[in-house]
Subunit: 125 residues, 2 copies
Amino acid sequence: MFDLDFRSRKAIYVQLVDKVKQLIIKDVLKDDEKLPSVRELAQQLTINPNTIQKAYRELESQGYIYSVKGKGSFVHPSKKMENVEELKKVREQLKKLLAEAIYLGMTAEEIESLINEVEGGQQDD
Amino acid sequence: MFDLDFRSRKAIYVQLVDKVKQLIIKDVLKDDEKLPSVRELAQQLTINPNTIQKAYRELESQGYIYSVKGKGSFVHPSKKMENVEELKKVREQLKKLLAEAIYLGMTAEEIESLINEVEGGQQDD
DNA sequence: AATACTGTACTATATATACTAATACAGATA
DNA sequence: TATCTGTATTAGTATATATAGTACAGTATT
């Protein structure tokens, strides 16, 4: 379910955070759906449980999942505009990235078609 | 000219790469303008010349500057659509970030107004 | 030619971060 | 009780980052 690249210079827990976020955003993981347990996923991916926990902690702090001791970790139902802090960060990142894209030659039209593509949801990488 | 945050968990050379890119994108640094020399900038920022060199090497590999032994490092004149590899990366990043922004509640209209804002250039952070 | 700038390369070292490992505790569930 | 969950702590190792020192090559000025 979550395929990682161990040769990547990107930290494993960061890759995992990104993957889960993508799956939630694309609605592959539905609201309140249970994620694999820390130990189960660690065994599946043959990595340390602590690394999974670190990823889950990060996802929780960003508001994408919630965890309940003894029960598990679940997808946080998306209430739009709720996670103001995260939205602020993303807007700043977006501004920089848009400037870079335009500098490199992307047109506003191209970007808008990207938006449309993404708005539909369920597209893959 | 390049103010850094030493308390940040972001690597110094990464911060420097971002800063220079932003200045080039915003046309604060003009085509073929000479950047401070490795040693000069190192002294200014009170960091090691090797760290500056690492940032410059990265900027060169991304096509933002070019360096000439014995002369210095200069802003690479932007030929749009030339740096295909970099553009590809940016497009992928943009796609992910757009999906995230929309998930968090940004509307297409908001994003388009961001594009307009950025297209004008010379805006600051 | 001499000097003083440039970029670039290399080795060594210190520190921070990322990851692994093992263990323990607390809550939920059957 | 037994077994599943998340969570916390401590320790050791590997990698990334930054510093330090030195050296070499090309350019420009005198």
